[in-house]
């Protein structure tokens, strides 16, 4: 009896311990997560951090001093480049290790290893898109450059020394939640971060949809509805800028392209994803020196996308934001220069229809003969299961992402055409970090131009200003040399005339320096006016933000940092300015009921600002969307295959200049509808929807309450996210806050004898939800304010803002 009791009790104890350490489905391992010895409690950071700390680390060559300011931003002072990047790696890992891990896992198709089956399709997609292939090529490019090889290796060593110092209780909380361990950092992970950026910013495509549209409607309609230059534009390189180079030969359209267009997504691009940057010259500023501003827009997440740091060593003293997991500063300033980036919507990703010889798919037709297909085996680890061996076929173009319909599973993105090879600039050997390495050390315009030469992808509009009073902007990257419209549609992969014909020479990428207007800007719109001799793309981001920025900058005199800060949070809608008067003119007020009449009054007197409390903004936004849908949805939606719909710009043209267009006519009614009919129908539909969803017109109709906006943790756990908050702005206003998307970093830099930088992150420096520095900057960011950035001249410069010091030395 005693024995039975003892055995039973022992069995319960063992079972309890087993259950507390075992993963059941998606539930965290409770014992490991909740125990106070090594569980989440250990991630609770004390408010009272050590003021002075000293560490001996293996591999450091000399002493490094790191000063932390009140936002716990590190100011790193090292004796040489090696120690500088080593310390950057060490400190970044200390704040952002899990983020570095999960982002490189995502890029490299290794999520399923830690979260199991449900990430398998994402992993397969990333592998089949050639993310690993591209990262391997980029790493080769980096390693060929002795300087960058040292930088990457020192950074990697710093990260790994930190990882090796961790006991399980020190692991970031996400490891405990998901129940896995950090692994050592590898140089290729830095390259994966570049690939991830390319995927986010230059990895979308609509060729599949465009080709379907072409096949359905024919070339003349496509030519009319999908023009190669918008009606409204305010190009990045000011219109009329002269091109002072002799262009190389422009390739001729291929025979197969001409045949395709003589009347016969990856992810879909989302309107409103983009960024702003601008610089004003001394002639416009109160100080007589240039001021530069940049706010790159991305899906806002916790941990913050960017990591602020000051990096100083002999020959360099730079401040700005870095990508956690990559050495150097990507956007920032030093004593002499400042620079920033926005995305260029360049045509750098193309699809090629492949004709295989037979079912074995070992050869494909190209240049009038059969060519060998190479095979690359991707081994995808899956938690709790055997790995999946996925074979990807490669042609000289690149990987055939889904060679047959059965390879494309239900969860795969719609816009990937089956049987097509992918040619993507992100697959090429490259050395982008070199650009940032050189900019970090740059002191004038020539250094800026030199640095840009090394940049491949994702193409960016590099804005520049310096203490010599120069300003400049260059849409920059490796742009394929193409015939006009090459890659607008899926191409015939057997025709060598469709291959990329080399690249636009770097020095001939569009660029402008010190224009008479005294300012330069970019907001993802067309790089140039139509006189630029080369083809970069047929469509770019909408012009609205760029137009507003240029209008404001043109009017500015004696501008200060604050003038530019206020412009960063400007919510005036150029879209409304362009179409609202016409929409209002068409409304037949006699046909409206009382609530609709009230709504019409509200939107008629609206000042066109997407302010958080603006009801007019809500009405206009929905009205326009209904108008757009009523105009295009019937013709351009297809359940079977994706179709491309005309742009906002083309729709505006239809409304303003072609009110009798056949696209307004509803073929199901005997009457012939015109723009006015659709405008009225759209208005009534919009107001009915608002009343249905939000009651009578009132506070619930305010734009900031209608719009969803939050900063979300990478695990999507609400508990670690900001939650929805009220904010102004929308995708097409300068303050482009919409659907969790917005300025991932705001920066304004006043150049001059003593440079002064201002900036803010929508989050904080620490990636730890248990840190006081996880989201401490968010309130300031929400208010549209900036912190004055602490730019130290030396390791021992005194400042009341230095809150703690960490000294590192070799072991």
């Amino acid at each position: 009896m005693k024995l039975l009791k003892a055995s039973l009790s022992l069995a319960i104890t063992v079972a309890l311990l087993w259950a507390l350490q075992t993963k059941f489905g998606d539930i965290p391992v409770l014992g490991n997560l909740l125990n106070p010895v090594s569980g989440f409690w250990q991630n609770a950071e004390s408010k009272n951090a050590k003021i002075n700390d000293e560490l001996s680390l293996p591999g450091l060559q000399g002493a490094v001093t790191i000063q932390f300011d009140e936002r716990r931003i590190p100011h790193i002072f090292a004796g040489n480049d090696h120690d500088l990047y080593y310390a950057q790696g060490y400190i970044t890992a200390r704040d952002r290790l899990w983020q570095m891990d999960i982002q490189t896992r995502s890029a490299s198709g290794r999520l399923a290893e830690v979260i199991g089956d449900k990430a398998l399709e994402t992993d397969r997609y990333n592998r089949r898109m050639g993310m690993v292939y591209g990262a391997e090529n980029t790493l080769r490019g980096i390693m060929k450059d002795p300087v960058m090889k040292q930088v990457i290796e020192a950074y990697t060593d710093g990260v790994n020394v930190y990882i090796k110092s961790l006991a399980p209780k020190d692991y970031p909380i996400e490891y405990k939640l998901l129940d896995y361990k950090p692994e050592l950092w590898k140089p290729i992970n830095c390259a994966f971060l570049l690939k991830l950026m390319s995927q986010t910013l230059a990895g979308g495509s609509d060729q599949f949809a465009m080709t379907n549209t072409l096949n359905k409607f024919g070339a003349s309609i496509v030519k009319d509805l999908f023009p190669d230059y918008p009606m409204f534009e305010s190009p990045i390189i000011p219109a009329g800028t002269k091109w002072n180079f002799k262009p190389v030969a422009i390739p001729q359209p291929s025979k197969s392209f001409l045949a395709q267009t003589s009347d016969v997504n990856t992810r879909q691009k989302v309107e409103g994803i983009g960024s702003n940057n601008w610089a004003i010259s001394g002639s416009k500023s109160a100080s007589g020196y240039p001021i530069l501003a940049n706010d790159p827009h991305l899906n806002l997440s916790y941990p913050s996308i960017w990591y602020q740091a000051q990096l100083s060593a002999p020959g360099v003293n730079v401040y700005g934001v870095s990508l956690p997991g990559a050495p150097g500063i990507v956007i920032g300033y030093n004593q002499k220069i400042s620079w920033g980036v926005t995305n260029v919507d360049a045509s750098v990703l193309d699809w090629y229809q492949i004709k295989f010889k037979d079912a074995a798919k070992t050869e494909y037709w190209y240049n009038n003969r059969w060519n060998k297909v190479t095979r690359r085996i991707e081994v995808i680890g899956i938690r709790g299961k055997k790995p999946l061996y996925d074979t990807v076929l490669y042609t000289h173009h690149g990987p055939v992402v889904y060679e047959s319909a059965d390879k494309k599973t239900e969860d795969a993105p719609d816009n990937i055409p089956v049987g097509n090879a992918l040619r993507w600039v992100a697959h090429d050997e490259s050395d982008e970090f070199k650009t940032f390495y050189l900019l970090n050390r740059g002191s004038n315009y020539n250094d800026y131009r030199e640095a840009l030469k090394y940049y491949t992808a994702p193409a960016q509009n590099f804005i520049f200003a310096d203490a010599d009073k120069d300003i400049a902007i260059t849409p920059n990257g490796k742009f394929p040399l193409k015939y006009k419209e090459q890659g607008k549609f899926i191409m015939d992969g057997s025709d060598p005339g469709n291959d990329w014909h080399g690249f636009i020479p770097y020095e001939q990428n569009p660029t402008v320096k010190n224009p008479a207007q005294g300012y330069l800007s970019s907001a993802n719109q067309s790089s140039t006016d139509p006189t630029y001799p080369y083809y970069i793309n047929w469509h770019f981001g909408g012009y609205e933000r760029g137009k507003r920025i240029n209008d404001r900058l043109a009017a500015m005199q004696n501008a200060t940092v604050d003038s530019l800060r206020i412009l960063q949070t400007d919510d005036y809608s150029i879209g409304a300015q362009d179409v609202l008067p016409t929409l209002l003119r068409y409304v037949d007020a006699t046909k409206l009921d009382a609530p609709q009449t009230d709504a019409l009054k509200t939107v008629s007197v609206w000042n066109k600002h997407f302010a958080a409390n603006a009801i007019g903004a809500t009405i206009f936004d929905l009205w326009w969307r209904k108008f757009y849908e009523l105009t295009w949805d019937k013709a351009f939606s297809d359940k079977k295959e994706p179709l491309a719909a005309p742009s906002r710009d083309r729709t505006e043209k239809l409304l303003l200049k072609e009110p009798a267009s056949k696209w307004f006519d509803d073929k199901q009614t005997p009457a012939i509808e015109t723009a006015g009919d659709i405008v009225n129908k759209a208005f009534i539909a919009a107001i009915d929807q608002l009343i249905r969803e939000h009651g009578d017109q009132g506070q619930d109709w305010e734009w900031g309450r209608i719009k969803r906006m939050s900063v979300t943790h990478l695990t999507r756990q609400a508990a670690f996210s900001s939650g929805n908050f009220i904010s102004g702005g929308t995708g097409s206003t300068v303050n482009a806050l919409i659907g969790g998307h917005g300025p991932s970093w705001r920066m304004v830099v006043q150049l001059g004898p003593q440079v002064k930088g201002y900036g803010i992150l929508p989050g904080g420096e620490s990636g730890n939800p248990g840190s006081f520095y996880y989201d401490d900057m968010l309130p300031t960011w929400k208010d549209g304010k900036l912190d004055e950035l602490l730019y130290l001249q030396s390791a021992d410069e005194k400042s009341s803002r230095i809150k703690s010091t960490l000294k590192l030395k070799g072991k």
Binding site: S9, T13, P36, W41, F720, P769
Partner: protein, 121 residues
């Protein structure tokens, strides 16, 4: 009382450098070695629960419970006190069952198996 104090002290101290599940081994071994008049389950349970409470609060107070509040939300609990409660209960169960097992094993094979003279008390 000795058993309770011993488990409490060892669990708390080992919490700074040994894996958490050693609390179970501590409870088991100590309850096997130390005779108690009271309930071994409650001695072990309350001891580990208290040790865990102390270890958790040592971390959470200087943190102003920001992390404990977030983790509570993750488990759909109102605030940090509740997640602390769950932690303490888990510790208590581990401590309780292991100490109970230890004392029952003692009853079968251990040093306390032979009846001792009353004076030994």
């Amino acid at each position: 009382m000795i058993l309770f104090a011993a488990i409490l002290a060892l669990t708390f101290i080992s919490g700074f450098f040994l894996p958490w599940w050693l609390a179970a081994l501590i409870g088991l071994v100590l309850a096997f070695l130390i005779r108690t008049n009271g309930s071994a389950f409650w001695s072990g349970g309350v001891a580990v629960a208290l040790a865990w409470l102390a270890l958790a609060l040592l971390k959470s107070f200087p943190n102003q419970h920001i992390l404990a509040n977030r983790v509570a939300k993750l488990f759909h609990l109102p605030n940090w006190v509740f997640i602390l409660g769950v932690t303490v209960v888990i510790g208590g169960l581990v401590g309780g069952f292991s100490a109970l097992s230890g004392s029952l094993l003692r009853a079968v094979v251990g040093p306390g198996n032979q009846p001792k003279p009353a004076t030994a008390k």
